[in-house]
Symmetry: C2
Subunit: 382 residues, 2 copies
């Protein structure tokens, strides 16, 4: 298949590009280096050293013999969005190309407005580029489990059948997003759903949980093929951050009561989920929604898992509660479904002590690069 | 009360400014002349002549002795949004200040993106201006009944209690908006709801039906106090357009089967609803939603009403179906609730033959200003 990856320089985009090209797909990628620029702005960085995009592409060509086609530009520029889609005529577009951080969107007004503008307009420009050049293309869009928030009922995959006053309808699952970033994904979902209804587009919205891990079959081949490992308050996800805190001997900082439950997924499973979505496109006019995670944990459980793995690893680390910088339920019901990707063939890599310990050793290798001042939260929701 | 009206130069904003100032409130208004500029762009215009904003303000001062304070600028400019709010320190903000046309948002990509950017960013800037200067202010935001679309269940006022797998929660009513404009209002709703949850804001989201009529106690006082009467394909609402077609002897053009059912409201009731919302503010942390209409009609019923009124008026007019330029259900279940504003004291002005005939005579007065080429639809959803 001809596959275009938007955000192909990112944490997930880059490993996805290698993985799908290794499977024989014709992969192009587009990026505007947003994540790298945001790190420059905030004086933070990936723990793993990340070569420039062209050096990554050359390293992958040396390893695999495959040359990825790259486009550097901003999806908010409609001419760029059109150009990339016209040049590549993709059968599937995997859209990771958005500002991906909840705390970054909560820094101040400028960052909140930027997050919504960047994500919503970039996504709209892609919808229009598809309409013009590839109306039958399948849009595989990365959403987030955070679109749902934490309602007091089971979370279905995108839609829910509601019985009300003797009638019923299957409607979009109500959304309670928890940041201006999460809101941008909710806006995207509504816009894509509309495009499917009026233009007969095919789309799959992947409401992904928190991703952890940095190793895939491809990233292991050479250090220049590594993907980023973010651990700072803005771009780091919780398991990565706990592992880093454990290695550098800082207490694991649990926000609030630690009863916040979320869906989690190994980066290897992310790649497989995206592949499954591409191989099984949505019908014309359909916006499918898959919940993309394999397990749920509370934040407190994760901290205990990391603490126990550190004991096996030969260390000893404390867990320290911090006042929650976010506004979120710190204890709540949480029962989201995630059956559709399993039905397509996903075989999950569940969280294990082995994985946590391999993260520890990965982190130790780059311990000299840790920016300690970037770990604790400074951005507050209120 | 100190009341700030955003979009105070518009179809509803201007009569609201006069009405609330006549009631003794201290009214300021802000506008960027967007509606006037959009008409310039599309070579269309209000049927009623509309003086420049400062001439309207002077005319109102002559009639009432009240000087309205005005601010001209764009809410998408954060400095302007802050300035207006800091200068007026409102107890209530009535936010009409958005791009209000579904067809305008569907012209092409540029108009779709503009509609979402203008509405979403302007609204976000107001939220941040409130946070900085008046966190206890009550935001009265104009939404639209079109946010809900036409689900197969009764439409509640903003929220619905869902029972699911033995548990229940009251959640935002699922949305099926029908244009990029309607989507912008859904995005606003989600953003405002979030602001109420994290910042304890007070907000009332008024999901308004289609407004008709141009006469209020204040607009009648002098021709320079008139509000706009739009009848063109982009800015005209259906009843206004039918009345105009009847007066100029054109068949009433019903889109598709005409079974599209919508909520309708007289402009006088709009003013009263907004007043009731201001007088009864939401609680801190609460985003109330009121469905703001007084009757529902199918488009075909409205056409027949206008046709019958024209017979009484001494004319004879045909009804002509046109292929629907929109993508929408042309026959559907529709049972939205609208009880909360009645409970606060709304006493509806229902649609009558008398009202339709008074519209006819208003239109006849300005018949020489009709731009016939602007009436039929050219903008198509597909």
């Amino acid at each position: 298949m001809r596959i275009l990856i938007l955000g192909g320089d990112g944490y997930l985009g880059w490993p996805t590009a290698m993985y799908l090209s290794a499977k024989g797909h014709e992969v192009s990628l587009a990026d505007n280096m947003l994540r790298r620029r945001m790190h420059l702005e905030r004086s933070t960085d990936s723990l793993t050293p990340i070569p420039a995009l062209q050096q990554r592409v050359e390293a992958w060509e040396r390893e695999s013999g495959i040359r990825l086609r790259t486009f550097v530009g901003d999806l908010c520029d409609p001419a760029f969005a059109d150009h990339v889609v016209e040049e590549t005529l993709p059968e599937a577009i995997i859209h990771y190309g958005e500002q991906p951080s909840a705390p970054y969107s909560m820094i101040d007004r400028e960052h909140a407005v930027f997050s919504q503008r960047n994500n919503v307009e970039g996504n709209m420009n892609i919808l229009w580029a598809m309409k013009q050049s590839v109306p039958d293309c399948h849009l595989v869009k990365l959403g987030t489990m955070g679109e749902y928030g934490t309602p007091n009922i089971d979370i279905e995959e995108g839609y829910i059948e509601i019985e009300h006053n003797g009638r019923s309808d299957t409607l979009p699952f109500p959304k309670l997003p928890g940041s201006f970033y999460h809101l941008s994904k909710v806006h995207d979902t509504h816009n894509i759903h509309f495009a499917c209804r009026i233009w007969d587009f095919r789309a799959t919205d992947l409401n992904q949980g928190v991703v952890y891990g940095i190793e895939t079959d491809e990233t292991r081949l050479h250090p220049d093929l590594a993907t980023r490992f973010d651990y700072d308050e803005l771009f780091g996800t919780v398991l990565n951050r706990f592992c880093l805190q454990a290695v550098i001997g800082q207490p694991l900082t649990v926000y609030g009561k630690g009863g916040q439950t979320r869906g989690f997924i190994n980066i290897r499973d992310t790649l497989r989920c995206v592949e499954l979505a591409c191989e099984n496109p949505a019908d014309a006019g359909e916006m499918r929604v898959y919940n993309q995670f394999t397990e749920t944990f509370t934040v407190a459980e994760l901290a205990k898992t990391v603490q126990a793995a550190m004991v096996e690893y030969g260390g000893n680390i404390a867990i320290e509660p911090l006042p929650d910088p976010r506004v979120e339920a710190e204890e709540h019901y949480y029962n989201p479904r995630a059956e559709k990707l399993l039905a397509l063939g996903l075989d999950p890599h569940l969280l294990s002590d082995e994985l946590v310990k391999s993260l520890f050793s990965n982190i130790e290798r780059h311990r000299d690069r840790v920016i300690e001042s970037a770990i604790l939260p400074h951005t507050r929701w209120r």
